[in-house]
C-alpha cells in the first residue's frame, strides 16, 4: 500500500500486532496494482473478460463500486489506466519526481458503471482498457478489518493507522478520547476522537511533474486528469475508515462547496482546507479553541 501502518494497543495484547501485520501483508499481496503478480494486477491484465477472483478481491471491489454509486461517481475505483497515464505507474517511493509528458490524451472515468461483479461465479469483468485501483479504499477496509480483528481477540482499546487513515476501538489507556493530529502545518488541529475513523485526502504528498504539468494522485473522474481545485486537503470523520476514505476523496473531487454539501447530506463530519489556508468545518467537527495571541 506504499504506506506505514501504526498500531497502538495495550502492551499485554502485543502479540495481536503480528496478526495485524499479517493481515496488511496479505491484502497488499492481493490488492496492490504495483505488484505485477498480485491478484488485482492479473485481473487488470485481463480486462474485457470475466475473471474468477478470491473472496477478498470480490468483496473489496464490491465495496469500491458501492462507494462509487453512493458518491455518484465522485469516488471512482476504475481509474487505474488514468493513473498510469499521468505517470503514477509504480509505488510512489519508486517514481521519478520528474517524468516525460503524457503520450495519450486523457479519458474520463465512470467505467465502474460497466464493471460486472457476478456473485454466483465470483467473477469480475472490467471494461476493456480499464483498470481497478483499490489503493485508498483497500487501505480503509484493511484498517477496519484490523480493528475487527483486534476486537475479536479481546483487545479493549486500539488505534490502527495506515498512512494517516485511521480508526479507533475502545478507549485509550487513560480513558477519554484519542487525541489525533489533523492536517499539515500551517493549520493543524488536535481533535479528541472517541469512536469511529478519520481519513484525509489531499495534495500535501504524492506530487510530481510530468513534462511541464504539475501532477498529484487524486484524479477527477470527469476529466481523467488530476483534480483542479482550490482545496489543499480534506479530512473526514465517519463510522468506518472505509466510508471516511471514500467520503474524503469524493469531497476533494467535488471541491469546497459541493464537497461540504456532500458531507452534510451523508451525515459525515469534515474539515476542508483550501490552498489559501482557510477552512470549512462540516457537521459535528470540533471547533478549535481560539488561537493564542
Amino acid at each position: 500500500m506504499g504506506t506505514r501502518v501504526h498500531v497502538l494497543l495495550p502492551e499485554r495484547h502485543q502479540a495481536a500486532v503480528l496478526a495485524v501485520r499479517e493481515l496488511f501483508a496479505n491484502w497488499e499481496l492481493r490488492l496492490s496494482r504495483f505488484l505485477p503478480d498480485s491478484e488485482l494486477s492479473r485481473l487488470n491484465a485481463r480486462a474485457g473478460q470475466p475473471v474468477a477472483v478470491s473472496r477478498l478481491l470480490f468483496r473489496v471491489a464490491g465495496v469500491a463500486v458501492e462507494a462509487a454509486r453512493a458518491t455518484e461517481g465522485a469516488f471512482d475505483p476504475v481509474l487505474g489506466s488514468q493513473q498510469v497515464r499521468i505517470g503514477y505507474d509504480r509505488s510512489f517511493d519508486e517514481m521519478p519526481r520528474v517524468g516525460p509528458a503524457a503520450k495519450a490524451p486523457a479519458t474520463a472515468g465512470g467505467a465502474w458503471r460497466d464493471a460486472v461483479l457476478d456473485e454466483p461465479s465470483r467473477t469480475i469483468t472490467l471494461p476493456q482498457g480499464c483498470a481497478l485501483d483499490l489503493g485508498g479504499i483497500a487501505k480503509g477496509m484493511a484498517v477496519d478489518a484490523a480493528i475487527d480483528l483486534l476486537g475479536s481477540r479481546g483487545v479493549d482499546g486500539a488505534l490502527v493507522s495506515a498512512g494517516g487513515d485511521l480508526a479507533v476501538w475502545g478507549a485509550p489507556p487513560d480513558g477519554g478520547a484519542w487525541p489525533v493530529l489533523v492536517g499539515t502545518r500551517p493549520g493543524v488541529q488536535v481533535v479528541p476522537l472517541v469512536r469511529g475513523a478519520l481519513a484525509t485526502s489531499g495534495i500535501a504528498r504524492r506530487t510530481w511533474r510530468q513534462g511541464t504539468a504539475a501532477r498529484h494522485h487524486i484524479v477527477d473522474p470527469r476529466t481523467g486528469e488530476p483534480v483542479e481545485s482550490d482545496l489543499y486537503e480534506v479530512t473526514v470523520a465517519a463510522a468506518t475508515c472505509t466510508t471516511a476514505e471514500a467520503g474524503a476523496t469524493a469531497a476533494f473531487v467535488l471541491g469546497p462547496r459541493r464537497g461540504a454539501d456532500f458531507l452534510r447530506r451523508n451525515g459525515l463530519a469534515g474539515r476542508l482546507t483550501r490552498l489559501d489556508g482557510t477552512r470549512v468545518l462540516v457537521g459535528p467537527w470540533p471547533s478549535p479553541l481560539p488561537e493564542a495571541a
Partner: protein, 103 residues
Amino acid sequence: MSTSSADPTLARRRHLARVDHLKRRITIASVAGFAALFALAAQHVVRGVTGTASGSTRSDASTGAPRTFFDQSGGGFSFDDAAPTFSQDLGSAPPPVAQSSVS
C-alpha cells in the same frame, strides 16, 4: 358406586390436578410459542441482513441499489465534546497519538 363422584374431596383434588396440568401445558405452549416467535423474528433479521449484504445474485455495477453506504444519520463516530480541541498553537494541547494526514 363411583368413588370419584361420591368423594367430593377426591373429585376436587382431581379437578385441581387437571387445572394444574392444564396450566403447565399452557405455560409450556406459551414458552414454545415465544421461542418460535423469537426464532421467526431472528430468522427475519438474519434474512434482512443477508439480503442487504449480498444484494442481488448478479451484482452488476450498472444496476441500481439501495444507497446504504454512508450512515446518513451521522452515527458511528463521535468526538469528545468536553475535551478541548486545539489549533495552530499546540503548546497546551495533549500530545497526539496519531496523525490523520494525506497518505
